[in-house]
Amino acid sequence: MKTPAKQKIAFAILFLCTVIVVLPVLFILAVVIKNGWPAINWEFLTTMPRNNMKAGGIYPAIMGTIYLVSLSTLFSLPIGLFAAIYLNEYAKENMLTRLIRLAIVNLAGVSSVVYGLFGLALFVTFLKFGVSILSGALTLAIMNLPVIITASVEALASVPYSFREVSRSLGASRWQTIRHSVLPFAIPGILTGAILSLARAAGETAPILFTVAAFYLPNLPHSIFDQAMALPYHLYIISTQVPGISQQMRYGTALVLVGIVFSMNIFAVIIRSRFRKKKKW
């Protein structure tokens, strides 16, 4: 066989694999949009569920997800960022830091239902936060930490070493160097990682199952110590626990959830691409 022909076949196989990766995404989107779109209207998005959740809207579930995601960001972003700064800028390469890195990699691989059980044991029971937004947000935050730390470490490490060297050679201290010559150039990468991890948090069911999610609440939560409804859990119960709910409503809920996650991801991609255009080193 001639080389060009071999090459063509190889490219065709590679292309085929790429298409296979993309197809499920398109298919999921198509099904969810086709079945869910008719359900989407102002009432669906902004009113409480009625008639045993068979009618009305999903407003409390949307708000619950927004509360959870924002509160968990508040916990996980600063902690993750500072841990990443320590690991990448300060920590010496020794047994302890290697252990920490190993722990972070392993944390990222723990299945989300284990985080749920952990949150139940630590926040709900031991710290007596009860089944509440606080417990759920903290559980999601812990689940997100490894992702945020890994993304932040990568973003910090992608800032050229020479920037640090130049800054130090001009008499800047270690912290001044990080603050003025490293962080500003790492922020977009850190933000991208953070948003992607939050998008994942928004879609997770298992961690919130035991720590925050309510089957049905007649009112919106009043404080972070209240339970809340959340989109993924709501979707789960209306799909499996409550009989007689229209397919349209289920797919409508799925569409809202996918929409939120997708728009967060797209936002992250936009930040990243704008950053790449500005990047000049």
Partner: protein, 270 residues
Amino acid sequence: MVNPIHPAPARRGGVHGLPEIIVNKVIIKELNIWFGKTQALKNLNLAIFRNEILGVIGPANSGKTSFLRQLNRLNDLESNCKAIGKVLLDAQDIQSINPEILRKRVGMIFALPQALPISIYDNIAYGPRMHGIKDRKRLDAIVEEALNASFLWEEVKDRLLESATKLSGGQQQRLCISRTLALGPEVILFDEPCSGLDPISTAKVEESMLKLKEKCTIILVTNNTKQAARVSDRTAFFLMGELIEIDTTEKIFTAPSDKRTEGYILGKFG
């Protein structure tokens, strides 16, 4: 290869009846540097005169850069670097000087122009700001003076707020010189500053070095022996971490006392 315009200054201390401390800006005593298990510099003894340009030549891995980076304690940033011996700046051991203050007094220009991807103005003002100068008028004055000293002011005065990365390589290197000058250094270390520059930019950098000599002491590490011949007052030849020979540039380039120096200058190795 003799440099007729810039003759060597007085020889070793005491010639004019002055005490060593006035003649010598930097004194290096028995300096040894290791990176891990590799010894980069072996038992270096050297005195650097006030307001001279000392050229340091030698093939790769001869310890030139390790020597240079020891003088402002930039080697401290490398975790596997170990140094024994003394470096005295104005008779004061540099280990007893706060490194941030030391680096303000002993500035450094790197081989590749390392302009930070911020504005020209912010690049120059970076050092002074880190040392607590916030007053805008004072910073403006420092920036203008520093840019003038590297002959860059006329070229960039209308676009100080543009990104420094838009400048050409030669302009960026002169920007880096200005950035170091903004701190008012007493000693400037040049680490192969023209290795990536075209001949015209090189000439401009050399011109600013000759002007800076009036105020500062300059140590120029270079791979380009001709550059050492053009600008330096004295030249030191390093080989495998050892100082082989140091003398007036004229002597080194016309009648070196060591065969190895002659061999290197004539391009027989390195």
